[in-house]
Point group: C2
Chain length 348, copies 2
């Protein structure tokens, strides 16, 4: 492969261009209709407003009305828009893929189909392609502990590329890896994909433990660690129910990504507010006011629907997910007790 | 079971008395010849000097010359001395066990036998018992994310009890659990045991990532998360080589305990010093001067010997252990490069 087009000029799309350029690829970056100011900054050689890193001038930028031009002749197209943006961009982009050999995805989340069935994004892409009557190449799901600003700055980063066809994942991994951007290839598309939104859900509980420390002046490290282990267990179980391999949650997409998400990020920060005693709706309103999107909040609701649709028989094994949902729904008066009950194991 | 005697009045031994008392047990706490000042504080109703929590007056304390009295009539004896103290205390205590139904162990580490073979502590206990010609009851290994001060303060805590005979682990779990001290029972003694010293080793690498952030002003979160995932992988692989189940490292003793150890603790702090650029021997000398024992340092050397003795065929799959050892040996000029090379996967 030679040419790769990244769709979405936000933090992750822009950040990903760094290893792609370093790997010697011809990188196109297309901005959506929401990204004009980001493309402006990139073209002016200014730091990217979301990640504060200058994007390489080897990247060719395209505006929202130049989608066909951006994609034309590309061997790979990378979906890097927000999860809510995926359906709209997919409808525009999928018919333009030409001879592209693969679609990569850094977009993360759940996507309901028109009947309300919760789908992972690769399934949603395949559904949309079917609705459009177009054939699409294999999809490579990308997940792992990648903060976009560090990736953009060529700080050491490890991630996982998962495709139903492991050979496609390996080809992708070989094409994009650099000394500072390592890629583990996996055949477990579902496992890689499910961890990404779920880690945002569970990061809220890690934040709650930190917030309890702030509120009480007493560390709750044991609780945070128990929540971490429970989160990994639940991610693995839910993934398996959807066809994933158990071990993917124990690797970079689960353990690794939950670690990095628990170090910083908005989901964790939201959890800290809850742990400090803020009401969930007020805390969310305040973060919205600060233009801080908390992906874990809608992901929790979608995950609950997903469980009811496809994993109801293991609902009892997902107490932390349910506790987080109860907390977000405002049903919990004692956040500490709710998290404690969810993560203190009674095994056997 | 009714009566339980904890050997060792340090942080973990003293901290453990809290859930044991709360579980309704008759708790004896024996201090070694190094613990007189700790017993003094406990008997005076003052906060325990190491964990700053007052120990319940329901705990009956014993001095080093009262070992037989402390153990007499106990259903369970808990080994909670430092790993270096285990052989000496074992030689004194094992002949006194009487009808005790189990030995529990919170002591953690590796123990070389007289021929220099590295043993896990339960194997060392069984060897010492054999040398003494005494028969001992089943051993229950205890590990998980338990900071002793939080445990002593009845903060929510989850841990794992592992015994070759799962029924013994279950009996122990049922006897000692409280609403704030949850116990998962496991049949995987080796898996529970191997994680405890290894997490101290790997916590050094997490600290290094934090230290690099301090030194450069730039977060290395992606690196820290990649190191976390690699550490879990290596703990699981090394454990399996010694007979452990893969999944124990993915649970409370591995994922959970590495999380809590990476939040704070001396091994992490030592790593921070290395990441900031301090030389390993100077950093260690400074921490020794501050009376801060860094268990991960001797554990690294012992783990390397263990690998050479019993796991040499998977040495290539333990790059992070080897990198940490090289760093501690002063063989590495560029700590960032060494950790990066170890944790950025080339898979396949």
């Amino acid at each position: 492969m030679q040419r790769i087009t990244v769709l979405g000029a936000g933090a992750m799309g822009a950040g990903l261009t760094r290893p792609l350029v370093d790997a010697g690829l011809d990188v196109h970056l297309w901005g959506t209709w929401l990204d004009d100011h980001l493309i402006d900054a990139i073209e002016a050689g200014q730091p990217h407003p979301r990640i504060n890193v200058v994007i390489s001038d080897k990247v060719t930028t395209y505006r929202s009305d130049q989608l066909a031009e951006a994609i034309e002749g590309s061997d790979v197209v990378v979906m890097s828009v927000s999860s809510e943006g995926v359906p709209g961009v997919a409808k525009l982009a999928l018919p333009l893929l030409g001879d592209a050999e693969a679609i990569w995805m850094t977009s993360k989340g759940f996507c309901p189909d028109p009947d309300g069935n919760i789908q992972l994004l690769p399934d949603a892409l395949r559904r949309i392609a079917g609705e459009l009557g177009v054939t699409i190449p294999p999809i490579v799901a990308i997940a792992g502990p990648v903060k976009a600003n560090e990736c953009a700055d060529a700080k050491p980063t490890a991630t996982m590329y998962g495709c139903r066809d492991i050979e496609v994942a390996k080809t992708a991994a070989r094409a994009a890896r650099t000394p500072n951007y390592a890629i583990a290839a996996s055949g477990d598309e579902v496992g890689v994909e499910i961890c990404a939104p779920m880690k945002n859900v569970y990061a809220i509980s890690l934040g709650i433990a930190d917030g309890l420390e702030e509120a009480t002046g007493v560390p709750h490290h044991n609780l945070k660690a128990a929540a971490f282990a429970q989160a990994i267990r639940e991610m693995s179980l839910l993934g398996q129910k959807l066809g994933a391999r158990p071990e993917t949650a124990y690797d970079l997409p689960g353990v690794g990504d939950l670690e990095v998400t628990g170090l910083s990020g908005r989901n964790k920060v939201y959890g800290v507010r809850l742990g400090r005693g803020e009401k969930p709706d007020e805390a969310l309103a305040e973060m919205t006011r600060l233009e801080q999107t908390v992906e874990g909040v809608p992901a929790t609701g979608l995950a609950m629907t997903l469980v009811s649709q496809r994993a109801s028989d293991i609902a009892g094994q997902l107490p932390l997910l349910f506790a987080i949902n109860d907390i977000l729904q405002g049903k919990v008066s004692d956040v500490l007790a709710a998290v404690t009950q969810a993560v203190l194991p009674v095994r056997p």
